[in-house]
């Protein structure tokens, strides 16, 4: 079975609207999941960063979530929340938590002791120190965690079509389930290529976001 480039181009021309819609869905579900995971992950990180036992527990738990095969996780979610967007978002959030929580904890803990001492010594409350000193200083590290999570979830989101979730996975699954038919390969290739391109674009976007939201005083 060989890829027919002309056929692929024709396929794209005919299905352009579908492709764009799926790309949009894919991006949306990843963005929604990342936003939720960021709120949860950074929040949890802020709660546990200075408490050894909760800290290790949370990171271990997030690590375990990451080892569950995505297909299994999605299948497990069906009886609980049904099909479609909901199980997809839940699964993506679970996969995103480890890099985000871990990087938040690392970032908050990496603030040099001298800076913590002078912040407290000047009369900031521990909460003010967290908000005005630690969080801004940890920001580039936290964003790196989100960036890793973004790469991870763009890939995992492709599997979500298995639970009738949104995104380019629909093309990939359609291709796989119709192997041998005329457009099977076109579907699979388009879906895969879309995922790869989306991953590259999002990664570049993160470089720009990190640059524009990090204090000039922290940039190398």
């Amino acid at each position: 079975m060989n890829l027919d480039l002309n056929g692929l181009l024709t396929f794209w021309a005919r299905r352009w609207d579908d492709i764009l819609e799926l790309l949009g869905e894919h991006l949306t579900v990843v963005a929604v999941a990342l936003a939720l995971a960021m709120v949860i992950g950074v929040g949890v990180g802020m709660l546990v960063w200075d408490k050894p036992f909760p800290r290790s527990t949370v990171i271990a738990a997030a690590g375990v979530a990451l080892t569950i095969p995505s297909l299994a996780l999605l299948a497990l979610l069906i009886p609980v929340v049904g099909l479609g967007w909901t199980p997809t978002v839940i699964a993506l959030v679970m996969y995103s938590l480890l890099p985000i929580v871990r990087n938040t904890v690392v970032g908050l803990r990496e603030v040099p002791p001298a800076i913590m001492e002078s912040a407290l010594g000047m009369g900031m409350t521990p909460f003010t120190v967290l908000l005005r000193v630690q969080l801004p200083m940890a920001w580039p590290i936290i964003l790196t965690g989100v960036r890793v999570a973004a790469q991870l979830t763009i890939g995992v989101a492709a599997i979500a079509a298995y639970v009738a979730g949104p995104g380019l996975g629909q093309f990939i699954f359609q291709g796989l389930s119709s192997l041998g038919s005329k457009n099977a390969l076109n579907f699979a290739v388009t879906g895969t290529l879309g995922v790869v391109i989306l991953a590259l674009v999002v990664d570049a976007a993160f470089v720009a976001i990190t640059r524009s939201t990090t204090s000039r005083g922290l940039r190398a």
């Binding site: 002078s118 010594g121 009369g123 801004p136 204090s215 005083g217 922290l218």
Partner: protein, 346 residues
């Protein structure tokens, strides 16, 4: 909603130039440590005094200092600032009125210099204009051009400049008390001397009550109104003026801490004018000159450096008022003239 600060904190805050600090039988015992870090420490610091805590590493001098701003909680004893019991105050509110400078400076790298200096004013809810004016005033005070430095980030400054910002930041809300933990320890010798001189000049005009921790006895002699020589468990071996400690060390420990060269160290404290100057003609030929505002150590230094028998002494108007030689310096040390503390009024 910010809580209304305790009135006792406001009473401390109301005072901007020097407050009385009293430590009464203060002990700090860390759990699982065989001996106390600070044992039964009592001291009264007068308003506007610059007190040096000198001692080897691990003697408890920093711990003692940190008890004052409640950075470290004492196991027993009491601390008061201007009669207010420090231990009854909210620690964060208290610290906004105690300037704090540490060796590593601890400037916030993500904030500009102006933002760094404005941290405490912001905590005290000062208006933007008031904070801004204060930042500019302080930058000028510590010798950094506000237009040039206000919007830079800490990493764009040299070590000495950062330390000046550290001092400015501690002075932001005009606190009556300053705690300084080896503030100039990490700078090179030349910068350190410069910072020390600037700091002395600054203190002469602001008159804060300052606890200054150092392990450098020469720095203590140069800066302190009084020096507390501390040994293990923060025991006070001697607490007196630099001159008295140099001429009359209380015990072996203090002598060994002063080290060699007490005569030369004493010379730092004595202005050239204390010597009986020779005739101006004796210095003929030397291009190096001494000023009446210099110390005898400066004079000796110049004599050794040039190898000349005598150097001309010039007054403020650059008129030669006499000459100085090694003999005349020795004569000052030989006679028991009352030596002056470095911060004595001119």
């Amino acid at each position: 909603m910010p809580k209304q600060p305790n009135t006792a904190v406001l009473q401390i805050a109301g005072k901007t130039s020097g407050a009385l600090i009293e430590l009464d039988h203060v002990t700090k015992q860390y759990p699982n440590q065989p001996v106390a870090a600070v044992q039964d420490f009592s001291m009264t610091v007068q308003p506007g005094e610059l007190i040096m805590f000198v001692g080897p590493s691990g003697c408890g001098k920093t711990t003692t200092m940190k008890i004052i701003n409640r950075n470290t909680a004492p196991t027993s004893g009491s601390i008061s600032i201007d009669g207010r019991d420090v231990l009854s105050l909210n620690p964060s509110e208290l610290r906004r009125h105690i300037g704090y400078v540490i060796q590593q400076i601890g400037l916030f790298p993500h904030m500009t210099i102006a933002e760094n200096i404005g941290v405490v004013p912001k905590l005290l809810n000062w208006s933007k204009e008031k904070t801004n004016d204060r930042v500019h005033e302080l930058l000028t005070t510590v010798g950094l051009e506000p237009g040039d430095f206000a919007h830079r980030y800490p990493k764009q400054l040299s070590g000495g400049q950062q330390q000046r910002v550290g001092v400015a930041r501690a002075l932001a809300a005009d606190p009556p008390v300053m705690l300084m933990d080896e503030p100039f320890g990490a700078t090179d010798p030349i910068t350190r001397e410069k910072l020390q001189a600037e700091f002395l000049r600054l203190q002469a005009s602001i008159g804060k009550t300052i606890i200054f921790v150092t392990h450098d006895f020469d720095e203590a002699v140069r800066l302190g109104d009084r020096i507390a020589v501390l040994s293990n468990r923060s025991q006070i071996e001697q607490f007196d003026t630099p001159a008295n400690i140099l001429t009359n060390p209380a015990n072996e420990y203090v002598s060994s801490f002063i080290g060699l060269g007490t005569a030369i160290k004493r010379l730092v404290l004595i202005p050239v004018t204390e010597a009986r100057l020779g005739p101006a003609s004796a210095a003929a030929g030397g291009t190096t000159t001494i000023r009446t505002t210099d110390s005898l150590r400066d004079a000796l230094d110049a004599l050794v450096l040039t190898g000349l028998p005598a150097l001309a002494v010039l007054d403020e108007q650059n008129r030669a008022v006499g000459s100085i030689s090694v003999d005349q310096i020795s004569a000052v040390l030989g006679t028991e003239v009352p030596v002056l503390a470095p911060t004595a009024e001119v």
